[in-house]
């Protein structure tokens, strides 16, 4: 790892095909900055992405990366980190990817608390499939598949995370790039599963949850007396339906990552040329 890594080293030479103005540009820049800022380089970083406009992020960044199938990025990230805890693992995807098809994995990744970061680009819509309701869409949000609105309340991913025993929950906004990069950096530095939900507006299909909406509504917890180590305060903020926050909502100071609890030491990539020493004992057990 060299110390002169700049955030642009994490940029691939592939030009993003996101719509001009898409929130995902800012989200990605913040991720690259945070990775460089935390002393990582592309050769020790593994990025796993899901499916969706957001999932394309792995293509536009430069690192070891896997672009998986819809909703399953988190388990891939867990496997990477378990097999080599020396790698910096970052998982990223959209709200559809993470909270709909991947919702089950989300809950279990949270409670497993593997030391990695999970950045979800929440645009409250399905972008790549051209504008259907997502699990975070508002109850009355009219889309091509919900002409009268989805008629069901949106999921609250931060509440799910808190209930599942999350050790780090943050909310960020792609347009506030400096703050966003800081929050992703905190998620990376956190010893455990660093979850960041990023409001990352879709300028093409979502005319409700727009830049203006978030800019007008969002309150920076860093400018309040919110105590991130207080679970009760986190709960109150998270359950307040009509408010949007930016900052670290909750962090468990005593978090110990899963792989550490499980005693995983170093990379599993190196193996002997033949059966490992002592393997014959495995046979003798069956006497």
């Amino acid at each position: 790892m060299s110390s002169d890594i700049r955030f642009t080293d994490f940029k691939s030479d592939k030009q993003p095909t996101w719509c001009p103005g898409c929130g995902d540009f800012g989200t990605m820049n913040g991720m690259m900055k945070a990775l460089a800022e935390t002393g990582n380089d592309p050769d020790n970083t593994f990025i796993v992405a899901g499916i969706g406009c957001s999932g394309k992020i792995g293509t536009y960044m430069h690192s070891y990366a896997l672009h998986g199938v819809h909703g399953r990025a988190l388990p891939v990230g867990i496997g990477v980190k378990m097999a080599n805890p020396d790698l910096e693992v970052m998982v990223s995807g959209g709200d559809g990817d993470g909270y709909s098809i991947g919702a089950g994995h989300f809950i279990h990744a949270v409670r497993r608390n593997v030391d990695m970061s999970y950045v979800v680009m929440d645009n409250r819509i399905y972008g790549l499939t051209k504008g259907q309701a997502s699990p975070t869409s508002r109850e009355d949000f009219e889309t091509s598949t919900s002409p009268d609105g989805p008629n069901q309340p949106p999921v609250n991913p931060k509440a799910l995370a808190l209930a599942a025993g999350a050790t780090f929950i943050a909310q960020s906004f792609s347009s506030n790039s400096q703050r966003h990069a800081e929050l992703v950096q905190e998620a990376i530095e956190h010893d455990g599963f660093g979850f960041v939900n990023v409001y990352s507006p879709c300028v093409t299909f979502n005319d409700v949850d727009t830049y203006d909406y978030f800019r007008d509504t969002i309150e920076d917890l860093g400018e309040t007396d919110h105590d991130r180590h207080d679970r009760e305060q986190a709960k109150e903020k998270i359950l307040e339906g009509d408010k949007e926050y930016m900052g670290v909502l909750y962090q468990d100071e005593d978090s110990v990552p899963f792989e550490e609890r499980e005693g995983v030491e170093g990379s599993m990539a190196e193996i002997p040329d033949g059966a490992p020493e002592g393997a014959m004992d495995l046979v003798r057990e069956f006497y």
Binding site: A83, N84, M268, Y287
Partner: protein, 590 residues
């Protein structure tokens, strides 16, 4: 009296049937006898009939037969369930003092041996030991030296303290003495012992052991019968070799975790059964297109859907051969014996890494729940070879960088095999994706690149066909007019079936095939035979279909899909019937 002895204990699930069978099987194995066990169980933990059967002989035994010599019946139903298999020399041991056993009628002139199992167990220190009392009684009936039982009692109960072990030994002797004193006669059995040392293990354990031997370091799975034993075997053991088992939240997660670990450079595996394979199929294509080495083990059970979870079937052949949307290069190996479960697992890891593909390792319930004895050198660890394929490091990665210094993880090499750089390798950073991609791993819809990458991936199979031997095992007379072909666990029963046929003057050439894809070309063999019969535990003849497709000739089929494995006598009968054309070849009911 036949050389081999067939013993069984049956009762209610939860009666300790399994562990009693295991104790006796270990005792026999330690006494230098070959053992082949089978289980009859229902999909529930308590209640319902369950039985553990052991066939044992001084010679190797490879299958079950439809004969029972000694039966320990803990319930009246046990006698009824095994009625057909009892004969006039059989001995049925049961506790006549129990009210539930009052009406037992032992059929076919077999000897009814009433032993007050519960009372004697209580005398030895607790009613719970009644199964062990029965084991002691069985030792006396068969003239089997009871000292052999002591060691397996020690193994089973050692953790619970010496007192428990001693009480159990006492219980066994109570049973022995009771039979000796109350029924002072010769039952006609004389179970010989030898000086041989054998190990006793089942197919799932052999797969787990093979995985560790091959250097597998990461296993993610989700419990499912009959694959769970693989996971239970690895748990705790793989850690001693620097590895880890993770119980995922479902099979979708399990295969994705295993994929992640494999991309991080670990030899990685997951195991499941049919319903889990369905879920994993989603990621199967990603494993193949991202060219990730991964061993996916399917221990087949009876399907479709949840089918009969505790019953035998070989119904997933098509699933492993064709499963997944699009066209996916893969290997499908199907061990035919328990020792092959070990060796094919080792081979599966080598194939996966050499060719950077998913490898299906297909086993079945009959193999998973069967314990069999082997000479320990069957699993000679010095014979294990590890081939990691084209892994590059910082020293040789330059050769694989493009003019801009980017690593070509999907380089369209002539043999179809690209270089592989483990994450952390300097200059190796690259992208991979389930989307069609170029040599750098970036998404593309370029028609030429698409064709180039599809061809490249498929070329691996061609290379493997040139470099590896996808052969078969052969038994019997190579000149025989009748050719029998089977795959999976049917081998043992068929080999014994052949002997029975030979005794009736019917010569058979038998080919057992452990490779489903790529597989050996059997055209010449089929052409040389007058009649070809394909034997498999499914209703439609999935392997027969692929053989017909390969050789462009009709074959006869013996299919069994009752949920019960073939036994040797039955196979011999079915082959005979097929040759005579006198009945349909389908065994539809037991």
């Amino acid at each position: 009296m036949p050389d081999d002895l067939n013993w069984a204990i049956g009762g209610e699930a939860g009666d300790g049937i399994d562990s009693t069978g295991k104790i006796f099987a270990q005792a026999l194995s330690r006494a230098g006898r070959h053992v082949f066990t089978s289980k009859d169980f229902a999909s529930r933990i308590r209640g319902g009939y369950t039985a553990s059967k052991i066939r044992t002989s001084v010679d190797r035994v490879e299958s079950v037969v439809d004969r029972l010599d000694i039966l320990i019946a803990l319930t009246e139903r046990t006698v009824h369930e095994n009625e057909e298999e009892l004969h006039e020399d059989s001995v049925v041991i049961y506790d006549g003092e129990r009210s539930t056993m009052q009406d037992v009628e032992v059929p076919h002139g077999a000897t009814a041996l009433e032993v007050p199992l519960k009372r004697l167990a209580e005398e030895a220190g607790g009613a719970i030991m009644l199964n062990v009392v029965a084991l002691g009684a069985a030792c006396e009936v068969t003239n089997f030296p009871i000292e052999n039982l002591d060691e397996s009692l020690q193994k089973r109960f050692g953790d619970k303290g010496e007192a428990i072990v001693e009480n159990n030994k006492k219980a066994a002797r109570k049973g022995q003495e009771y039979v000796r004193e109350e029924f002072d006669y010769d039952f006609g059995y004389d179970v010989e012992t030898t000086d041989e040392d054998y190990v006793l293990l089942n197919g799932d354990e052999a797969i787990g052991m093979g995985a560790i031997a091959a250097g597998c370091r990461f296993y993610a799975g989700y419990p499912i019968t009959p694959a769970t034993d693989v996971m239970e075997y690895l748990t705790g053991r793989i850690d001693q070799f620097g590895g880890k088992v993770v119980q995922a939240e479902d099979e979708l997660s399990a295969i994705n975790m295993a994929l992640g670990a494999a991309r991080a450079g670990a030899r990685s595996m997951t195991a499941t059964s049919g319903p889990g394979i369905d879920l994993m199929t989603e990621t199967f294509g990603l494993v193949a297109t991202s060219e990730t080495p991964l061993v996916i083990c399917d221990v087949m059970r009876s399907g479709p859907s949840t089918g009969m979870p505790t019953k035998q079937e070989q119904g997933d052949l098509n699933m492993t051969l064709y499963g997944g949307h699009g066209e996916i290069p893969r290997f499908v190996l199907a061990p035919t014996t328990i020792s092959e479960c070990f060796w094919k697992t080792v081979e599966a890891f080598n194939l996966a890494e050499k060719y950077q593909t998913p490898v299906f390792l297909v086993s079945d319930l009959a193999m998973a729940v069967t314990e069999q004895t082997f000479s320990p050198d069957t699993f000679d660890m010095d014979e294990v070879e590890v081939d990691r394929g084209k892994v590059v490091d910082e020293n040789d990665i330059d050769a694989w960088l493009d003019e801009k210094g980017r690593f070509q993880a999907h380089f369209a090499a002539a043999d179809g095999i690209s270089p592989r750089a483990f994450p952390g390798t300097t200059d190796g950073a690259h992208m991979t994706t389930g989307l069609e991609h170029d040599e750098l791993g970036r998404r593309t819809e370029d028609t030429e690149v698409r064709v180039e990458q599809v061809d490249k991936r498929n070329r691996k199979v061609e290379t493997a066909k040139e470099e590896e031997e996808f052969d078969y095992r052969e038994f019997g007379d190579p000149e025989a007019d009748t050719l029998v072909i089977s795959w999976g666990s049917n081998e043992g029963a068929m080999r014994e079936g052949m002997e029975l046929l030979a005794a009736e003057g019917i010569d058979v050439r038998f080919i057992s095939v452990p490779y489903i894809f790529p597989r050996p070309d059997l055209s010449e063999e089929v052409e040389a035979a007058e009649t070809t019969i394909v034997v498999e535990c499914n209703a439609t003849g999935q392997f027969a279909d692929v053989i017909e497709h390969d050789v462009l000739e009709r074959v006869e089929r013996i299919n069994k899909y009752t949920g019960v494995r073939f036994d040797a006598d039955e196979l011999a009968e079915e082959v005979k019937a097929t040759l005579e054309g006198s009945t349909t070849a389908e065994v539809e009911a037991e």
